[in-house]
Symmetry: D2
């Protein structure tokens, strides 16, 4: 987050405000050039990672007039602390939304969307599902103009053709398919009935959502092969 | 579904087309008077049950300009048949969307929404989550005009004050809370940042979504107390 | 537990030692007559409940020379407290033994076995499995003399023919079959190769293992029909 | 299995009976020297792998007078086929024994135990638990003579000191700890009250129980470092 005021509204204060100006947003696939020369990299949250990879090609094409991100996360995404929420007997056989009406990760998404050409206020709602690792974001875009499934698909193919850690799938991806990997798997859809454009992205929140993406960035910062140690 | 043509597009043909004109749509809370005098009641699908209970008060108030329904269902909602999809090792530790781009249940929702005063084409996407019973629908409404959280809440309180099987909750409901019951538990929210109105509804797909709602309707048809045998 | 010294060794001290002499052990099927006239009933732990129902007919027949009870319990059997052990991310996709080398419930089992005619020191090891409600005990008996599957089965049929809450099954019972009920479902087996006699008993630890068995006893104490409110 | 008659009783016939004489039993830690020179290696089943690693040091020391192996396996251990048993709604929130009274894997265990110096007829009962990968065996040994926890522990330390894929643990191992690895983690216990000796071993049935153990053997057969490609 570049804007200190927004940061303070969502997080209460920053430990090192003087670093904010220099920090590069470490969503590798969208900021590779900046990460390469960076001294300080802010690793993105797990939700923004999946959401931005699912939305960036649409944002850059000027296609996003409005967007809803409905996320589903395993319990490790809700923290290691032993609480009522993370107790097995609460989480097992359950699914529920949380963080309403406004989850703090939305600030990160709005900033990134605006930077990519989509100055919208996103709606973002995470849900807790009974699994340990894994995160799925379901993105519902009201397009600024008509767009076919083929056109949408082409935008993603262009954007991610050379990305080692982004895969495009025909069918909606399941989080199991990317477990224990640095992969983000994405499917795209358009509904001719409603005009709605949809993108679904699955990651492992403990890997691409956190640890292995950090390694991916460190590899870049130190001039190592990007995939070293994670593929 | 009243419209035979729409039925055939989604289901391929009806076993008793002559009954379609007489059949009453058995979503009890919305059609109680008609169910009471009916000879034939068509039990609603589990997704439309939860979605319509979450949307009816908004539809009647003319508040729905557009709507997205993101549903999460346990594996029993995906059928008793032993398939690759319902194999434990496929479903466990997984979550994925299915039925894209257009799930057949959307026809039922569109028909009901139109009848209630919201002639929109809904976007509906179900997701499979690793639990056995339970269904959550997350409804994202673009309102036709500004609406506060208080106004929205009041609409639901008015609509469901006397309903024995609909409960309003302050916090987003979890499906565990309604397991093995005929209850539908709903929370409503409004985000002043985006203007978005949201409603979340949890049911047990094997109870309110199927069997116990059928009993609720039979009780009405035969003049028995509505709650007999299910509460 | 009737023996204060044993109680203190396992539990550290009793809140009302003067009641120990009067207290009746509330495993209904084994102590119905005493429960009927009792002022104080000590409800059995969930493990001893299942284990004793699986072993009593063998103990009474003088068949138990030695016995191992390997128990599997859902996480609710491990307490409502939010701990490292009960955190979803610890318990999910896991199974492990605990309470080694000697779990405190074994004192209850030894006392009951001796009272029924089997003065042995049982081996009892509980395991945590990733489900919320349910308990299975697998009992491996070294018989004092040869016993066929048919003879064993007949002992159980005699013992439980009139019991409303004990069911004999041909196949090993699963805990799902008794979820949310006061039932104990038992299968018995004999392996001619080894001479071993085996009994498997499934209960819901929150029902027959705790709450509904307490109701069953209260019904008896107050002269009500035993099944009132729980079947 | 070296004995064709036993094989036929359990499996109905062998595809290549002429290979039986040459085949080496590929439980690497127990047969490393033979695997090294072998042309044909029979990979052990997942249950015998865990059970034999938990029992071999006791068998060699002449300590096993009798033994019960109570196993718990995830659903992948029950086959990839979509059946009633492996349906999510059957397996979820369930646990049950199967394969009674005699599971075919017991023949493999008896053969190995006899070869190591313990000519006993083992009792082996597998249970299905609701997780995908992972297998725990709980071994209850009636010792031929008294043995302390320390003596037992020393036997295992001697046996496995140099083994890269066997780890001894103080606390009973959970299957999660070895998921996606070729490790077998074992704890040992002795109960002075009963004299019983116990060993618990956890493996990943898809790794050490199948695929990665096969690689471990292939590495040996072809003179490669044993850990190549699996650690």
């Amino acid at each position: 987050l570049h804007d200190l005021e927004v940061y303070e509204r969502h997080y209460g204060g920053h430990a090192a405000p003087e670093l904010l100006d220099d920090a590069v947003y470490g969503l590798t696939e969208l900021h590779r050039a900046e990460v390469r020369g960076a001294d300080v990299v802010a690793n993105p949250g797990c939700f923004p990672t999946a959401a931005m990879l699912a939305l960036a090609p649409l944002a850059r094409a000027g296609l996003i007039a409005d967007v809803i991100v409905d996320a589903k996360t395993g319990v490790s995404g809700a923290g290691r602390q032993a609480t009522e929420t993370t107790h097995f007997v609460t989480a097992d056989e359950n699914v529920n939304a949380y963080g309403l009406p406004v989850h703090r990760h939305v600030a990160e998404m709005d900033q990134e969307l605006a930077a990519l050409g989509a100055p919208v206020a996103a709606t973002f709602v995470p849900h807790l599902v009974p699994l340990d690792q894994g995160e799925l974001v379901s993105c519902y875009v009201t397009p600024a103009r008509e767009a076919s499934a083929e056109e949408v698909r082409a935008l993603f193919e262009d954007a991610y053709a050379d990305e080692p850690f982004v895969e495009l799938a025909e069918r909606p991806p399941g989080v199991r398919e990317v477990r224990d990997t640095n992969l983000c798997r994405i499917s795209t859809h358009a509904d001719p009935r409603t005009g709605r454009v949809m993108a679904f992205a699955a990651i492992d929140n403990l890997w691409k959502g956190t640890a292995s993406q950090a390694v991916q960035n460190l590899n870049l910062m130190f001039g190592r092969p990007e995939e070293e140690g994670i593929a």
